[in-house]
Symmetry: C2
Subunit: 427 residues, 2 copies
């Protein structure tokens, strides 16, 4: 097996929602109230919903086209971005250039948990837009290139009954997962342990869909010192996946829903062997704590393995200990267009780590596509013959894709000259 | 090398302070105000200081003698405990039975950070008792068996100037370390990042003493769900050591004090390779964050290794990845008399993990005593010839030590019959 023979399915990427996304997915009577992007005098594009400026979807969320000295939290404009961030046709070209067969995309403007719709005052309007978002994901973004995207939807967190309904609705349309908060109690919602979310979890099991819990949502679970720099957030984000696993495993959410599948998106994998050592030793050593609420004769690590997909971008130590994690439980990610992405050298990056860790061909296939496809219930070859799904075959289609990083100003100049990033009604 | 040839120096054990500890270490005029233990009608022993009941030092803190079905948070009495918890002569016998040459003991009643003295209203009185505590540690507990204990003191957190003074005072008396809070900001104190603690950190560097940060102090750094069971605390405690390391490393406390040495006591080691992968990738990938506040041309993991001793009781995954942690940075712990201790089978437990991980003899020596002794600046053979310091030699002296676990009630019966655990003035 060579690097070019790998098949890459990434279950953690992101899009920057385009301003015209609701055009075809919200009934006419609501069209006047869909979220809009307004470009201000400084050239910054700003989403506005229900009269409130909600977010500017740029800065750190879409750095893929820029040199790293331009990364930061400054707001910006669509025309400064690499078009693959918001344009599905350009995205597929960028995937080809990186040898990536398929991708699951998390929201940006909407928030991991549909925050933008949940926080608006008018919840009826929020639900219309949330459903419009999901329909855009399914019927427009993913439908544009069958076989290239694993659909991920959102649920209305403000009402668990509606959330369960929405799971069923999008499940029937072929959606494979929903994004949710990793530590909902930190944002003022009931915790996973509370039982409040059970109807939604049941719906996910019924539809055989995955609960995708992306890092970042739970930053505030750690009480950071006031003086802490942004490094704290970026470094410690993955430690929070262990906290989430603990909530689910000892909650005991996972034991109440034998069919529940949870992806710890971007959570990393290297913390897991240590966590397994700890929970299994704890379980046997502190047996006095588990008289009534047992793990059914299994070790906590075994229950974890039955339910959780551990996801990583780069993780040399975790790969070295893959036998302790369970090679069936590991899935690779690309993270386009965030700062941590390995695009456009993902095949080189992943391949080197596999070789350094001594992975076999079979292990590489499990980690790069087999585990993700099994877990998300998604057939990678339904639309793409296997021989056309490889890194080598996809890259061969992308010889004309320029992957050079360029300053924002240059992107703006080029994009605006070509009419890219300027949407109807933005001014 | 055989199991019996190991030399075990544990840098994490605990004593249950005996009620008469201030008798010889507080001037006569304060003797009427020293903390006292009162035994109530239910037979529970309770510390009282400045008119306030402060803590009952039992339950989970001293389970070493009991079967695990009696573990729990219930308060108890001295006479229910294995006497090695509070009696130095019995402790040394228990150490011999476990093949342990030397031990560093954390407080129980006083709290990791001398909480009991810090929380009292009268700070002058608190300081008298804190100094009395330190003098008892140095001049009584440790002095009773030269070469068997590495002295650990406390500092008055309510005044950093006094804390620095106390470091110098006990440093001159031969103390090798102080215990402190791993995340002081969570308890309402200034954070490590604030600079407030710098005079104390400078004093530690001047005295070449170690800052020992034991897990547990920072539990509340994680916002746990209201429904979380005690499993959360016990499992996640080690994740907090990563948070502490982040505070110190990016603070940038460690870089301002090139001589500062920090032990992450009971923090475990298996999280470190993942943390190193993360911080080193972050540092190189997010170079835009580090223009002014660099690591001096080194990787963050290299700075960690220069300052931090990583400590563990049982850690199969961490040992397997010791080459990624740095075998010079790992130290073994016993944790007598807590629930997580491996006493009295520590040699068997540690030896099996070393064998499973394929450790060489040289690596075993580093992990079991060399690293700890170098780090704490403590010569293990000053009072004990090396050939008498081994597991085999020490155990040979302890043939008469009964290590059987017995119910509390049996301990009480036996101890009280022998006059053990009943101190002057307790009733």
């Amino acid at each position: 097996m060579r690097k070019e023979d790998m098949i890459l399915v990434s279950i953690d990427d992101h899009f920057i929602e385009p301003p015209d996304m609701w055009k075809n997915h919200v009934p006419a009577r609501w069209q006047g109230e869909v979220p809009r992007v307004v470009r201000n005098a400084e050239g910054v594009d700003q989403w506005v919903f229900q009269g409130q400026a909600t977010s500017t979807p740029f800065g750190m969320a879409a750095t893929v086209g820029w040199p790293s000295d331009q990364w930061g939290f400054n707001p910006g404009s669509y025309s400064e971005l690499r078009p693959g961030c918001f344009d599905v046709h350009e995205r597929v070209r960028d995937m080809n250039a990186n040898g990536v067969l398929a991708s699951l995309n998390f929201p940006t403007m909407a928030g991991w948990n549909a925050r933008t719709f949940a926080e608006g005052e008018d919840k009826e309007l929020g639900l219309v837009m949330l459903r419009g978002y999901n329909d855009w994901v399914l019927d427009e973004w993913c439908a544009a290139y069958p076989g290239r995207f694993i659909p991920l939807g959102l649920v209305p967190m403000w009402d668990v009954g509606l959330a369960a309904e929405e799971v069923h609705r999008i499940g029937r349309k072929g959606c494979r997962s929903v994004s949710f908060l990793e530590t909902p109690h930190v944002q003022g919602y009931p915790s996973f342990l509370s039982g409040y979310w059970d109807p939604m979890l049941k719906a996910l099991c019924d539809e055989d869909m995955v609960l995708s819990l992306h890092i970042g949502a739970g930053f505030d679970v750690i009480r950071r010192p006031a003086e802490a720099s942004v490094d704290h957030l970026m470094v410690l984000a993955c430690q929070i996946s262990a906290i989430t696993a603990q909530d689910l495993l000892f909650g005991p959410t996972l034991r109440r829903f034998p069919g529940l599948k949870v992806a710890l998106s971007e959570g990393g994998i290297g913390w897991i062997p240590f966590y397994f050592d700890r929970i299994d030793r704890h379980y046997s050593n502190q047996s006095w704590l588990h008289h009534e609420d047992g793990f059914g004769g299994r070790l906590p690590s075994e229950v974890f393995k039955e339910h959780i997909l551990a996801c990583y971008i780069t993780d040399p130590s975790g790969l070295e200990l893959r036998h302790r994690i369970g090679v069936e439980n590991i899935a690779w990610e690309c993270d386009y267009p965030h700062t941590d992405t390995t695009w456009p050298e993902s095949p080189e990056f992943a391949w080197k780590e596999f070789q350094d860790a001594g992975c076999t061909d079979a292990e590489i296939h499990k980690i790069t596509w087999e585990n993700a496809c099994r877990f998300y219930g998604w057939d990678p070859f339904a639309h793409t013959p296997r021989e056309q799904a490889t890194v080598g075959a996809l890259r061969a289609q992308a010889a004309d894709v320029d992957t050079t990083r360029m300053p924002k100003e240059e992107w703006r100049r080029r994009n605006e000259a070509a009419g890219i990033g300027l949407f109807e009604g933005m001014r």
